[in-house]
Symmetry: C2
Subunit: 137 residues, 2 copies
Amino acid sequence: MSKNEEVKNGVIFPVGEKNTAYAQYFVGQSYLKSLVADPEVNVGVGNVTFETGCRNNWHIHRNGYQILLVTGGEGWYQEDGKPAQHLEPGDVIVTHDGVKHWHGAAKDSWFEHVAITAGTPEWLEPVSDELYDNLQQ
Amino acid sequence: MSKNEEVKNGVIFPVGEKNTAYAQYFVGQSYLKSLVADPEVNVGVGNVTFETGCRNNWHIHRNGYQILLVTGGEGWYQEDGKPAQHLEPGDVIVTHDGVKHWHGAAKDSWFEHVAITAGTPEWLEPVSDELYDNLQQ
């Protein structure tokens, strides 16, 4: 069963194309639509859509930060050493400089967030199946 | 007639309270919900909701910028010396440092956007009724 399938069509903002540029840093299929990529602005804004079970690798934003505005479906956010937080539309996450974390869809739901990102990501290891498969709301 | 009245209940993000702090810089009633106000992050994020006919004064973002992510209803964005742009959900606006502009609802519609703001606003004169009342989609 896959919940929130309508998210695959985009919630307010378009889903864009298959996220091939970052596919190596994801488990599963994600989609990316760039909303703002402007050399005069210190953040990039993108709409990221995750199919069920899709999540990005553990990563760190260096010399910057990331803000997630959840627009659709159900997902997870976790900082290293802390419990995972279940996410739903309207939730807002701020990840500070240097904090190791990951985010992605729930195993049975599509998921979508707008990401506002400053700095440079440092990509690390995938989220293990053991961790992900044992997440419980 | 007032279109898109459901926007007054918030589209994904809550409408928050009456925007009393900035009321002096608006014509009509707006509502503001702060989503991110974090000293470690160089942008603030807020959800701004405009009743029909409500718009902010002409203003300039100094030493920063503003990004608008339109989430609900219908509105307008105008930079000084340029034609007004009609806005609807999914539209994205970037205002560069130093650019005089205003934004707000259409005269017959509620309107909502997320605003991502860096720097300090300089507030100027109200948008005249002559300009606003003659906007045509």
